[in-house]
């Protein structure tokens, strides 16, 4: 690695944090209903939305009502998407006359976009009309991200409120997140992307002859507007099949840098927002420190492995397999770590071609539930569950029954937190465990040996973790896999959201205990270390055996020159 490449990574982080902090403050204000001046001109629209939908913005909901609203709203989105996809051939804006989608694929795609996973069993330019892209997928990109964000507000209320049984109003939170945060940010990014050459049109696909005289079809479409929110909302579903490796999605080094930045922007900002709203910024910093340390560990493992662990014949050359020459190794690896750390899932390189340990780093990020910055909303609320677990295990060691931010962590919270951590893991283990011994799994693999195992493991991990990135090579578009992976995405999303809202409700109903010298300190470096330890140990204990049989075996076999 060259010095300038190190500089690139450092520069990336400096920019990221210096943008995320002010955005965090902005987020916090929107959450609290104190709409900042810059966007206050949108206020009439907010009121109009409430008026049209008959919502009383001052009405507060219980935890259960809040969840129910969120769930029903998401299900309605799912239904709309599935209908649009299945009947897109009858709808306008379909210049290529793309046919309606089969049910399993439509089911899978609709769940994928509802859950902020954006797993692509489909290929945009083959399966989707412009209308489907814009009205089904892009809309869901906004709504699923906003859904995630509402949970930050819910957690904050759980922590801040005392002896209250309500958690705010889902419809209000949802409207504000979309209107004041996601729309303005996306608009700005869209124009920047267009300026760099990302396409935004309704043209027919172009048929061109290459220099060699071969006919080539160039897909077109309104890409820029979707890509902006795909990154900002950590959605990751590409407009085109090959996602951000495609020049029309990601044409220049600048767009590569900005998109990478956009992926982590809100995930970092939301932690700052949390600290600000609970009025204890140090608490948020402790969590951010844990996230950053984990991130750099993953990044270093990935980079080191990519440059140093190569098969014998490839030693001494820059590893470029599965990467775009325009983008290069560094930026590809950075992207792969960023996209799996956040629950984004867009890719600018073939993850299947990453060195085995880089693949492991990506897998591990997703297995722990993408809590290293993580998805919009999802990253923080996922980490929140680990925080509760850490507080519970280690908190006992100071001789007090565990508490976090003045709230006692008791059986109910632990039960819920465990559901949120356990169910997605169960999906991965059960799904992949069955897959490797079933015809429906083995027949989709494109490799033998440990790499084949990694492929199927990656598919179940990416969907259960609501990441959506693909390992490439694995044929996920089969009826069985579409349904199974769809269910994984569903569980991976709502089996986490439900406990988080219920925990917030339960915390909100508790009294608040003042912190003393005897309280387990959750704003110290020690806590950061513990939190890292718990994330690593929980992840490692659950997944070490299967990771050993997948990427680690592949890595060791590669070093020994074994093939399968």
């Amino acid at each position: 690695m060259q010095l300038q490449e190190v500089f690139y990574l450092v520069f990336f982080f400096v920019v990221l944090f210096s943008l995320a902090y002010p955005l965090g403050i902005f987020l916090g204000r929107v959450f609290e209903g104190d709409v900042p001046k810059r966007v206050s001109f949108l206020k009439p629209i907010e009121s109009l939305i409430y008026k049209i939908s008959g919502i009383n913005p001052s009405e507060k909901q219980s935890a259960w009502d809040y969840f129910l609203s969120l769930f029903i709203f998401n299900l309605l989105g799912f239904l709309v998407v599935i209908l649009i996809l299945m009947f897109q051939d009858l709808l306008p804006l379909n210049p290529q006359n793309i046919t309606g989608m089969e049910f399993p694929l439509a089911f899978n795609t609709a769940i994928s976009f509802m859950t902020n996973t954006n797993w692509q069993a489909y290929s945009g330019e083959v399966h989707l009309s412009y209308l489907s892209q814009m009205s089904a997928l892009t809309v869901q990109n906004f709504l699923s991200a906003a859904t995630g964000l509402t949970l930050i507000a819910v957690i904050v209320r759980g922590v801040n409120q005392k002896l209250e049984t309500t958690l705010g109003n889902f419809w209000v939170d949802m409207t504000r997140m979309t209107l004041y945060i996601l729309l303005p940010l996306s608009l700005v990014l869209t124009f920047v992307l267009i300026s760099q050459g990302v396409i935004q049109n309704f043209s027919n696909y172009l048929e061109l002859s290459t220099i060699e005289g071969v006919k080539q079809v160039l897909p077109m479409g309104p890409a820029a507007s979707q890509i902006a929110i795909k990154q900002l909302g950590t959605n990751g579903g590409g407009f085109f099949g090959v996602n951000s490796a495609y020049p029309f999605e990601n044409p220049t080094p600048l767009t590569n840098f900005l998109q990478c930045l956009a992926i982590l922007l809100i995930p970092v900002a939301q932690v700052f927002a949390f600290g600000r709203m609970i009025k204890k910024e140090k608490q948020a910093v402790a969590i951010l420190v844990s996230m950053s340390v984990l991130f750099f560990t993953l990044l270093i493992v990935s980079l080191y492995s990519e440059y140093n662990f190569l098969p014998e014949f490839a030693r001494g050359i820059v590893p470029m397999e599965g990467k775009d020459l325009r983008i290069g190794t560094n930026a590809s690896i950075l992207w792969s770590v960023v996209t799996t750390a956040a629950s984004n899932g867009s890719v600018n390189a073939m993850h299947s071609s990453l060195s085995p340990l880089s693949g492991l780093a990506a897998l591990f990020s997703m297995m722990t539930g993408e809590v290293v910055f993580g998805g919009v909303g999802a990253g923080f609320y996922g980490m929140f569950l680990y925080v509760l677990l850490t507080v519970f295990i280690a908190g006992l060691m100071v001789g007090r029954s565990p508490e976090y931010l003045g709230k006692k962590i008791e059986a109910r919270e632990i039960k819920l937190a465990i559901i949120g951590i356990l169910l997605p893991s169960a999906c991965i283990l059960i799904g992949a465990g069955l897959g490797v011994v079933s015809h429906w799994g083995i027949s989709s693999m494109s490799h033998q040996g440990p790499h084949g195992l990694s492929e199927i493991l990656y598919a179940f991990t990416s969907t259960s973790g609501n990441n959506g990135s693909a390992f490439a090579g694995f044929n996920a578009n089969t009826p069985v896999l579409n349904i199974l992976l769809g269910l994984c995405m569903f569980i991976g999303r709502f089996a986490v959201i439900y406990p988080v809202i219920m925990i917030a409700g339960s915390l909100s109903a508790k009294k608040s205990i003042p912190m003393t010298a005897g309280t387990f300190p959750t704003d110290s470096y020690l806590f950061s270390i513990l939190l890292i330890g718990v994330v690593l140990i929980v992840g490692a204990l659950t997944f070490f055996p299967v990771l050993t049989l997948g990427p680690i075996a592949e890595h060791l076999a590669m070093l020994k020159g074994m093939t399968f």
Binding site: V398, L429, I430, G433, V436
Partner: protein
């Protein structure tokens, strides 16, 4: 109890018998983690038997089965030992109760009835050699009582009517003299009954924190069941990708892996930890009415402590004689001495003691007939003596400042302003001034002072470090209270305290989310005791107080509240430490078992790429698995003493405690199994067991 070793041979034998008894499925089902081990042991045993029947006996499977049963029995043993210690005590007490007869007393005659006939309010008489038949209060007489049956302390204690030491407990034995007792608790409601039912587990409900921890342990168990279950699938895929090689993933091996990974260490010791928490309090002579109360003690933020007896030594003591302008200190001491000769109050005696210590005044001899003592009366608020001497009568008086001043001026004497300043200074410093006068002259001042107990300030400092706020409760006026509070180093005080103001102070602290502990003995303390999160009633206290509190201190020592808090903290810490240890152990167990399990996967030319994972270099796959299982079983035994005694505890800030425990139990949990498993592997391969 106090001096007993942690284990005696008798305890051990009984423990072993009980641990085998506990093998019935009903007992096992109560602990889901150990139930999995239990099932694993049964399945493995079946496989062994099946092997014998089909002439396919495997010594490895047999040893695995043996150690799995061992794991279950060791966990049972821990619980049995913890229960046994209290049980033995309860059992011996039950015996004495069975035989106990009571002698009802109607003022003249005694009437023998069985103890079980007694009702609340009955009056009974006990003479030397009698077992006290019921909890009660001494209404007449004084006796020495052997309370070793409850407290384990063999030295007899004095129980007498009135005063602080009037409460007696059923099952204790009168050694000398005769007392008349009013029964305060009927058969079946006494402490001993409560104690027996508690240690026998009848009312030992799992505490909230124990429940939460159990949920976590069950969840971890589910994770590992999924992990090991899915591993079977992954391994069979990997085997299919292998050129030859036999599968090691047999049922006994997978069960072994599962048992090693699930948190058996903490799972096996959890109930022992909870029981021993109450047991440790019992050793300190505190009976907790529920495990929940012990746990709550660890969370206490505010301690309400009575000034008298807790912070200061019982009563005020004379510390200084101050002379008026024309006299000297010895004169003051002499007059004070003489006027206090018949004063039996602790203050009076402290004056005698001080005067004697300084001026050897006990050698003064005045004939009794020459002295006429004036006793203290509420009206005059002074006491003293009139001494008839050759040249007349000397009127010596001692009393409250305003009373003496009134007396002196009525006799035509004058009060010097300088002495007034001294009086004020003493009052301001938290002391109590007493004036002494001879005839119409005010000759000096006695400085009575609350003596703060030695070391109490340091104790409060430690409490502060632990994040616990101390509040002194006193009937003194605010000025005096403030001075003593400053001297003792308490954080806050409640002056001119009444039962109502105590109650409202507790409510106020609780409103701010704090957990409050207090000590009380009087009936009017009962509401506050009930309101407090931890209310320790003194054994000598009234029945109402004993019922309102959630703990009873048999020694009636208010300072013990601090120890109660420490025991609560220790209990929680022990749980946390062993959970951390148990989870950290898994890392080493993975490194021991997985390489062993994986050596036949992805074989190419007879070599598995996973061979290089074998960092522990254990003898063989089978010895690796067996060693891990043996380690997993033995660690429970090794940790039993820790579970029973609790992790060592020193008052420190949460941060320091955390650092220390993380280092010991976190890091220790990571490293110890590596060493332990390696050693066991060396041993069993040397002994040729595998």
């Amino acid at each position: 109890m106090k001096k007993k070793n942690l284990f005696t041979t008798k305890d051990m034998t009984q423990g072993l018998i009980d641990s085998v008894k506990k093998l019935n499925p009903v007992d096992q089902l109560r602990n889901p983690v150990m139930f999995i081990v239990y099932l694993g042991a049964i399945v493995t045993s079946f496989i062994v038997v099946w092997g014998i029947l089909t002439k396919n006996y495997s010594s490895f499977n047999f040893q695995i089965a043996l150690w799995l049963w061992g794991t279950v029995i060791f966990a049972n043993f821990a619980e049995a030992i913890a229960e046994g210690k209290g049980k033995a005590q309860a059992a011996s007490l039950k015996n004495t109760k069975k035989e106990a007869m009571a002698y009802l007393w109607d003022g003249k005659n005694k009437n023998q009835v069985p103890a079980s006939y007694l009702k609340r309010g009955d009056i009974v008489v006990c003479v030397a050699g009698d077992i006290i038949p019921a909890d009660g209060e001494v209404v007449e007489g004084i006796a020495s009582v052997d309370e070793s049956a409850i407290t384990g302390e063999s030295a007899p204690v004095i129980r007498e009517s009135g005063g602080d030491r009037s409460a007696v407990t059923a099952g204790t034995k009168v050694i000398s003299d005769r007392i008349i007792i009013k029964v305060t608790a009927a058969e079946g409601e006494s402490y001993i009954d409560k104690l027996i039912s508690m240690v026998e587990g009848a009312s030992r409900q799992p505490t909230p924190n124990e429940i939460a921890l159990s949920i976590l342990l069950v969840a971890l168990t589910v994770v590992f069941i999924l992990g090991v279950g899915s591993l079977k699938g992954f391994m069979s895929y990997s085997e299919s990708q292998s050129q030859g090689g036999e599968s090691l993933a047999t049922i006994p091996v997978l069960i072994s892996l599962l048992v090693c990974l699930i948190p058996t260490t903490i799972g096996g010791l959890l109930s022992a930890i909870g029981i021993s928490g109450m047991e440790r309090l019992l050793q300190k002579n505190v009976i907790a009415k529920s495990g929940k109360a012990v746990e709550a003690a660890g969370d206490i933020d505010v301690l309400l402590l009575d000034k008298t007896g807790t912070i200061t030594i019982g009563n005020r003591m004379a510390t200084e004689f101050i002379a008026a302008a024309f006299s000297n200190e010895e004169d003051v001491a002499r007059v004070a001495f003489l006027s206090s000769m018949k004063d039996e109050t602790p203050e009076g005696r402290s004056i005698i003691k001080l005067a004697d210590a300084h001026y050897k005044l006990s050698e003064i001899h005045i004939k009794d007939q020459e002295m006429s003592f004036i006793p203290f009366s509420a009206e005059t608020r002074m006491s003293g003596v009139d001494i008839t001497e050759n040249n007349g009568v000397r009127n010596l008086r001692k009393g409250a400042p305003d009373a003496i001043i009134k007396w002196v001026t009525s006799q035509g004497g004058e009060i010097h302003p300088a002495i007034k300043n001294k009086i004020d200074a003493i009052a301001k410093s938290g002391g109590t001034p007493l004036l002494v006068s001879e005839n119409n002259k005010l000759i000096g001042v006695i400085h009575l002072k609350d003596i703060v107990k030695a070391g109490i300030k340091e104790r409060f400092n430690q409490l502060r470090q632990m994040g616990i706020k101390t509040v002194m409760i006193t009937g003194d006026n605010p000025m005096t209270a403030a001075a003593i509070a400053a001297e003792a180093g308490v954080d806050d005080f409640l002056a001119e305290a009444t039962p109502e103001s105590k109650l409202s102070k507790i409510k106020e602290e609780q409103k701010m989310g704090r957990m409050v502990a207090m000590v009380g003995d009087g009936t009017n303390d009962a509401p506050a005791l009930a309101q407090a999160d931890v209310g320790v009633a003194m054994n000598t206290g009234t029945q109402a107080a004993r019922e309102a509190g959630n703990m009873v201190d048999l020694d009636s020592n208010p300072t013990k509240l601090i120890e109660v808090v420490e025991t609560g903290k220790q209990l929680l810490m022990t749980r946390g430490a062993l959970t951390t240890f148990s989870i950290a152990n898994d890392v080493a167990k993975y490194f021991a078992i997985l390489p062993a399990l994986f050596t036949t996967l992805y074989l190419t030319n007879g070599v598995s790429p996973l061979k290089s994972l074998d960092i522990m270099k254990l003898h063989s796959p089978h010895s690796a698995i067996l060693s891990a299982v043996i380690f997993n079983a033995l660690i429970i035994v090794f940790l039993i003493p820790l579970a029973l005694k609790g992790v060592s505890y020193r008052p420190m800030s949460a941060k320091e405690i955390l650092q220390r425990n993380l280092l010991i139990y976190g890091l220790g949990g990571l490293t110890i199994p590596f060493i332990g498993i390696k050693l066991i592997d060396l041993f069993i391969s040397f002994a040729g067991l595998v």
